[in-house]
């Protein structure tokens, strides 16, 4: 009796592991496949060796991906957009959070709920007005056309995370700083802002991933090749070189490797930042 019970239990455990491992393989397969075919020749990709490791490592593909089209440019644009957006989002949300949690005034709770609306507003809502307004301001087809909207849409998440972290800072610190003669600005810059580094990491990572991968705005607000970000650039490259899979694989890999590196070193932090955005939303 006992034996058969533990027998079924073992059997069940094996089934669970098989499903988990199978799903892990399915989750990893596209990335694995991308990284391997980015190093293969067409004849390997198209028949001789479809899913195996490359027999001959064709680094040439990466060279070609970097030289055809504007890959380095797209990469640089994506980097500039992501970094500027992170800086703006962080500055705006740390400042706003300070006003809403450490300073005393009527309506600060309501102001916070107002900002939290941003968690649910779809980007579709602003696409036409943004397009026409950016055109009027002559900002269309510049990197600002992406940086400004990205910062605005990351703001709610930034404030949400900062509110959590700022709540953990003891209020005695503000009072001590005040007694030492610091005004609100002094307290903010010398006491609160330096203690916000954990929030900086969480907000920064989340914002980085959003900017790095965003497609709809990037596709609509930027037209000329020299201001394209990676998603749009890679998309247009893939349309041009449909039969040359190796270099396209290399281009896709170049767009993905930064994310992979960040994930390998900060997986826990990244997962936490995604959870933080959802728990309240």
């Amino acid at each position: 009796m006992n034996n058969s019970l533990s027998g079924t239990r073992n059997w069940r455990k094996i089934v669970v592991y098989v499903i988990l491992i199978l799903w892990a393989l399915i989750s990893l397969f596209p990335v694995y496949w991308m990284l391997t075919f980015s190093l293969k020749t067409n004849s390997e990709i198209f028949g001789e060796n479809v899913v195996g490791l490359p027999r001959e490592w064709v680094w040439e593909n990466y060279k070609r991906a970097l030289h055809t089209g504007n890959m380095p440019r797209y990469f640089l644009n994506s980097l500039i957009v992501a970094i500027t957006t992170i800086v703006i989002t962080l500055a705006a949300s740390v400042m706003a959070t300070y006003a809403m949690t450490r300073l005393h005034w009527k309506g600060r709770k309501r102001m916070n709920s107002f900002f939290m609306l941003g968690l649910t507003i779809p980007i579709h809502a602003s696409i036409v007005p943004l397009y026409t307004t950016l055109a009027k301001l002559k900002l269309l087809d510049t990197l600002w056309a992406l940086i400004i909207p990205y910062s605005a849409f990351s703001l709610a998440m930034g404030i949400l995370v900062c509110t959590g972290f700022m709540g953990d800072i003891p209020y005695d610190l503000d009072e001590a700083a005040f007694l030492d003669g610091c005004g609100v600005w002094g307290t903010f810059f010398r006491v609160i802002a330096p203690l916000m580094t954990p929030a900086v990491a969480t907000v920064g990572i989340y914002t980085f991933l959003q900017c790095w991968n965003e497609l709809m705005f990037a596709n609509v607000f930027v037209n000329s090749d020299k201001w394209r970000t990676l998603p749009v650039g890679v998309q247009s490259l893939s349309g041009q070189y449909t039969t040359d899979w190796g270099p396209i694989g290399a281009a896709l890999s170049i767009a993905t490797i930064p994310t992979l590196i960040v994930y390998i070193f900060l997986s826990k932090k990244i997962q936490d930042s995604f959870i933080a955005g959802a728990v309240k939303g």
Binding site: I45, A99, W105, A125, V234, T259, S267, Q271
Partner: protein, 292 residues
């Protein structure tokens, strides 16, 4: 030296950057979109006010066929709730029990969420490639030649083939949310139930799942509103084709705006989407409250 006044000015200054961004990019455009949705406008001439004409046309025009786009989006929402979420919940429940390789599984399952949808779309385009794609190559290698298809080019299979990567990509996201929720269930609760002789399945059914209802609610809202808004992967994989078989509201909106220069009608679709998303979020909130 009026201190309270200076204090107020300071509060305002601290809020200013966030307010400018938020009102300028999110709040004002919603209002503007709503106004545009009542106009006929090509982006160059002055908008002409036409009342509800766009809305009437949107729901009656055969050529726009919003019904098909909405049907596709709702189908995706249903698939997401019936397949993606239960599977994500199962993974989360399994991984929250002691199990070897837990962190590795969690990290791997979450990985697709982080990768750019363009990259994922391009990779699946290649997986589905009729001549050299892994899917058809695999089917041929096990002798199932008659099952090979032009997956994204055939009206019958295109929608299903486009949905698979969308559902696949976000399983890990829902799993992670649910996993975080399960971690928050007090250990005393589950241990007491186990001591009373409950099986793992009973603990999950009667203690963990009721406890993580707030997270499940968030997941359902994300799954449904996300499906209604879905754009990226459809855009990369099929862009609404073949012959509009995989059109969703967002792809219709973009083609209205930037292929046909109908800014009024594009705004109408946007407004409809916003209303639908908020309505569903409210509805789901109500459903989850009532059941309590």
């Amino acid at each position: 030296m009026n201190k309270p006044f200076r204090y107020k000015v300071n509060i305002f200054l601290f809020l200013l950057p966030a307010l400018l961004l938020f009102v300028g990019v999110l709040i004002a455009p919603i209002i503007m979109s709503t106004v545009y949705s009542f106009t006929e406008w090509n982006g160059f001439t002055t908008p002409e006010f036409i009342g509800f004409k766009n809305y009437v046309e949107l729901f009656t025009s055969r050529s726009i066929n919003i019904q098909r786009a909405l049907k596709n989006a709702f189908l995706l929402a249903i698939l997401s709730c019936c397949i993606q979420l239960p599977f994500a919940l199962w993974l989360a429940l399994r991984l929250s029990r002691p199990i070897k390789g837990k962190t590795a599984f969690l990290s791997i399952f979450f990985l697709p969420v982080l990768i750019s949808t363009v990259v994922i779309g391009q990779l699946w385009l290649k997986i589905y490639n009729p001549d050299y794609g892994v899917l058809n190559v695999f089917l041929r290698s096990i002798g199932l030649d008659n099952l090979t298809r032009i997956w994204l080019g055939d009206k019958k299979t295109a929608l299903g083939a486009a949905f698979v990567p969308i559902l696949w990509q976000y399983v890990g996201y829902h799993m992670l949310l649910m996993y975080a929720g399960i971690k928050g269930v007090p250990v005393e609760l589950t241990e007491a139930a186990m001591l009373d002789g409950c099986t793992q399945a009973q603990v999950s059914r009667y203690i963990i799942i009721p406890y993580i209802r707030p997270i499940l609610r968030v997941s359902v809202i994300f799954a449904i509103t996300g499906s209604l808004k879905s754009f990226d992967l459809i855009y990369v994989l099929t862009n609404g084709g073949p012959n509009h078989a995989t059109e969703v509201p967002s792809t219709l909106m973009i083609s209205m705006l930037f292929l046909r220069n109908r800014y009024g009608m594009g705004s109408t679709i946007a407004v409809m989407l916003i209303i639908l998303c908020f309505a569903f979020a409210l509805l789901i909130n109500m459903l989850f409250k009532e059941e309590k």
